[in-house]
Amino acid sequence: MGYLHISNLQKSFGPTQVVKDFNLSVEKGEFISFLGPSGCGKTTTLRMVAGFETPSAGTIQIEGRDIVRLRPNQRNIGMVFQSYALFPNLTVADNVGFGLRVAGVSRAERAERVAEMLGIVGLGEYGARYPFQLSGGQQQRVALARALAVRPQVLLLDEPLSALDAKIRVSLREEIRAIQRKLGITTIYVTHDQEEALSMSDRIVVMNNGVAEQVAAPYEIYNRPTTRFVANFVGTLNLIEAQVADGPAGVVEIGGTPLPLGRPVQGATVALALRPESVSLVPASGRDVPLPAEISEVHFLGSVIRIRARVGTASLSLDTFNTPDAPPPPVGEQARIWLNPRDLMVLEE
């Protein structure tokens, strides 16, 4: 059992079930992201862990202790909000020291800890300022320092970067990750930005309709999505309905070309997924198989050229790098595209 253990968690608002049977076990020091479309229940799940919503059913345990019955201020869980939520009437230092003061930490000890935390988030000089005198990125760092100052057992962040502009978002997410590693704090990070989730997380929980569709490392999520939703939501993806030629041997046909999947499949057709970067106009390795295709669209995106090609009834996107000595094929040309059958992902429903 993990450090933070969530089992069979459910939440309904009136008749609508927003979180349905959510299970997750988080190891100590792990960085977990909740990734999913708007309204899928990420915030609601996080708020149940924080204690701001009461679960309709299920348990949440930290170090084996059920915390569902504890009030938010008894849980020792840090929270960072999208809107920063700094106390406007307090200076940066007083904001960071708020939790320590509530806990009855002496003034001297408090000052020391506040200075340490402000140092960690790189705002050592800003203690005497008021929140309104800081930029959004700085405010969010103060909020992070404030949440971490009381040494919470778990840190929760609900889309902490989505109010910031793109550049700061990237630099701050790296900083947050570095601080999290340094302090070794168990963290849950909510986002609907897949790049954020993929780049920061130890593991990602892809959520849809109140269910955790897949829980796995970013590499797994991207390369071996287990459901159609995950495959579709993370990255760009070709979805192919292929005919099964020989189920037990795992051979399927796309546009008449037999392709061995290397694992048995059932039924007459099977849903396959394929990343655009796994398809190319020239063979990338000895294992690649050619498929006859017709070029239907060419999009020049700068360093990458995205091409759509028709293979039988299927339409595939493929990405090729732009090189000056290999101009893209014209639309309508009959060509061969290459792919490694092992890159084909079989989607369970």
Binding site: N73, Q74, R75, F81, A85, F87, P88, G99
Partner: protein, 262 residues
């Protein structure tokens, strides 16, 4: 176009005359106690009257108590309604408006009936009890202003997220009220407080019918028996109201300086 402008100026001038003429008249009259020349004699007489000092300080103390009680009732209520019971807001707002439509005389007769010496709670039987009753009456009269001021102040901050942030840092309700909510609506509380002060200082009906030595009944008494002093008193009372208004402005300006751009 030109005609419209002219009429606008005429209307404004009429308004100003309507408003200021009686005021100027009162001020002028209050200065004429000494025959043949302007003097502050009327003010001297009024200010040295021990009854003035007694009733005025009584009303000031009552006003301060009313403000404290009003704040303690209104701030948590408005906060809780905004945080947890947003659907009740129209109802609560309606209730807080009731004192504007129910005349004070109705309120005070209700009090006298409810809390007379033969009732279950004989508040009117003692001076302290009556003072308490009077203060609660004042609180009721000031409720619409206090509630509106505080509610507007609460709207300006994201109380829900601030509350949750404080909770996640371990704060209980008392800490949240005292260290997060109150300081952030202080300006609103102060403007409500000044309005309350102005109302209580000039209030007549409740104090007279409960027979307490407040400033309002004293004003009336002097007005009925003297010539120049009532004018001086009116000017004094009016100045207090205006000073309160000015202080509201000042506090608002001051706070904008320290808490701009939230």
């Amino acid at each position: 176009m030109r005609m419209q402008r002219v009429w606008a100026w005429v209307a404004l001038a009429f308004g100003l005359v309507y408003f200021f003429l009686p005021l100027i008249g009162t001020v002028e009259f209050s200065l004429r106690m000494r025959r043949g020349e302007y003097s502050l004699d009327a003010y001297r007489v009024v200010l040295s009257d021990p009854r003035f000092q007694q009733t005025f300080s009584y009303s000031v103390v009552m006003a301060l108590c009313t403000i404290v009680v009003g704040v303690l009732i209104v701030v948590p209520t408005a906060y809780w309604v905004r945080l947890r019971l947003p659907r009740l807001r129209p109802i609560v707002e309606f209730v807080t408006l009731l004192p504007l439509v129910i005349p004070p005389i109705v309120i005070v007769f209700g009090y006298i009936r409810m809390y007379n010496t033969s009732s279950f709670l004989p508040l009117t039987g003692s001076a302290t009890g009556t003072n308490f009753l009077l203060m609660m009456g004042y609180t009721t009269l000031a409720l619409p202003y206090m509630y509106r001021a505080v509610d507007t102040g609460l709207r300006a901050i994201d109380i829900r997220t601030l509350t949750e942030a404080a909770q996640s840092l371990g704060a209980g309700w008392f800490t949240i009220m005292a260290r997060v909510i109150m300081p952030n609506v202080l300006v609103a509380i102060l403007s409500g407080a000044f309005l309350t002060f102005a109302i209580v200082i000039g209030e007549f009906v409740l104090a007279a019918l409960l027979n307490r030595p407040a400033f309002g009944p004293y004003l009336q008494l002097v007005g009925a028996n003297r010539a120049y002093e009532p004018a001086a008193l009116a000017v004094i009372a009016f100045s207090i109201t205006w000073i309160c208004m000015g202080l509201i402005q000042l506090v608002t300006r001051f706070s904008r300086h320290t808490q701009a751009r939230r």
